[in-house]
Subunit: 252 residues, 2 copies
């Protein structure tokens, strides 16, 4: 039986890892890391670096995987993601077959937590047919939305009220979900909060959470929209890329 | 300035703690632990035990707090919770004023993550007036819903689709939220999944997550409803109490 550990690593800081994640990392023989060119790919470098910092007394190899590009021009988002998942599964399946020998344990690092908009488990489920099944073990990690709440010292939920976790695309096209006044938005490359009615809405926004580049803004949405758009441009310019997330809280 | 650290401790296993949480625990001088009678209250005992297991080389005190009872008979849930929050804030405020001296740092342990249906930050926000403000620092923890997903080896979200995090009461009274086919339910003391149309719905259920008492059931909701109800009764009988959570996933 081939074992693959999927390990949530938070934002990549060693302090975000749980004890179980550290133990799991120290039990992996071969890490599979997407990003063909580690020098060009900062996220790949961060994964290499994290392994170096938290693994002690256990030898391991890192196999860099070619990361197929998603078709970002496609009007059919679900189809583009599905094609991309299959392409990545083909690359990973080949790597597992050729690089994992005997009883060696494979490892995949997931940013944040594998349970929230992460592709790792989907790619594993799409692996091409194998002669023996793969045993997948999942270790949760701290998600960006938890760091968001901690940085702003707030709960994401209110008493007895629902919370929606959604994407920038959903918010931009459908607005506030019906019957739900607390919405956490992930995967938003386009400041989709600009497209909703800001009346009575407070936003808690953050970029580069848990890193030295962290930026926080909160306030009435109408008052801080321009500031967030500007701070996001700055944050992206400084680092070459930006990941941000936010909570919208509506008072009726 | 008085500093209080709110530390997410997952389900109370040391392996669930992040490195930042362990460091924070080791910097606290006085822990405030609700539960008047540590012998009678297993959750209080678990907090005492966790401190003993992860704090090394730093002396600390534990102050057990009387935990006012919530009015569980009240028809007005929000009001009952609000009254309860104020009563707990009064107890905590008195304890902070009398037990925290000079520059000592206070600590509160939150089960799971303080961002999901946890009262700790709400109680702190309701503290009676003080002469100086309190600096609150929050360290996220692994939530039961993340352990649920990891144990079932699933993502809580599907590609580009929203996820609702809600309570048993919301599910029982309002059913599946409109426009959302993935629902995680917390704080459900009553198996509220019995009250929805099971057609096309898969459930991923767990009790006592991350402990040796963990129980997992998944399958078509119609097929496994009875089994889950029975397993929950067993789990509660064995331990004297039960905490469970689940994901409902609808295929249309």
């Amino acid at each position: 039986m081939t074992t693959i550990k999927v390990i949530g690593v938070g934002m990549g800081e060693p302090g975000h890892l749980t004890g179980e994640a550290v133990a799991a990392l120290n039990g992996v023989d071969v890490f599979f890391v997407p990003g063909h060119d580690p020098v060009a790919d900062e996220l790949s470098l961060l994964r290499h670096d994290l392994c170096r910092r938290v693994i002690a007394g256990h030898s391991y190899r890192v196999v860099d995987l070619e990361d197929p590009r998603r078709d970002r021009e496609s009007p059919d988002y679900a189809r583009a993601v599905s094609d991309w998942t299959l392409a990545r599964a083909t690359v990973l399946g080949t790597a597992i077959a050729t690089e994992l020998h005997g009883n060696e344990i494979g490892g995949l690092l997931a940013w944040g937590d594998p349970a929230f908009y992460d592709s790792t488990l989907r790619v594993l489920a799409a692996l091409p047919g194998r002669s023996e099944p793969i045993d997948v073990e999942v270790i949760p990690g701290i998600s960006s939305i938890q760091l968001l709440a901690a940085a702003h010292r707030i709960s994401l939920t209110r008493v007895a009220e629902p919370l929606q976790v959604t994407t920038g695309r959903q918010l931009a096209t459908k607005g506030f979900p019906p019957g739900c006044d607390d919405v956490v938005v992930m995967l938003d490359g386009d400041c989709s909060f600009r497209h909703i009615d800001p009346n009575g809405v407070t936003i808690y926004w953050a970029a580069h959470l848990g890193s030295t580049h962290q930026v926080l803004v909160s306030g009435d949405l109408a008052d801080v929209t321009e500031e967030i758009v500007a701070r996001r441009v700055e944050a992206k310019a400084r680092r070459g890329w930006v990941m941000d997330t936010y909570l919208l809280r509506r008072t009726r």
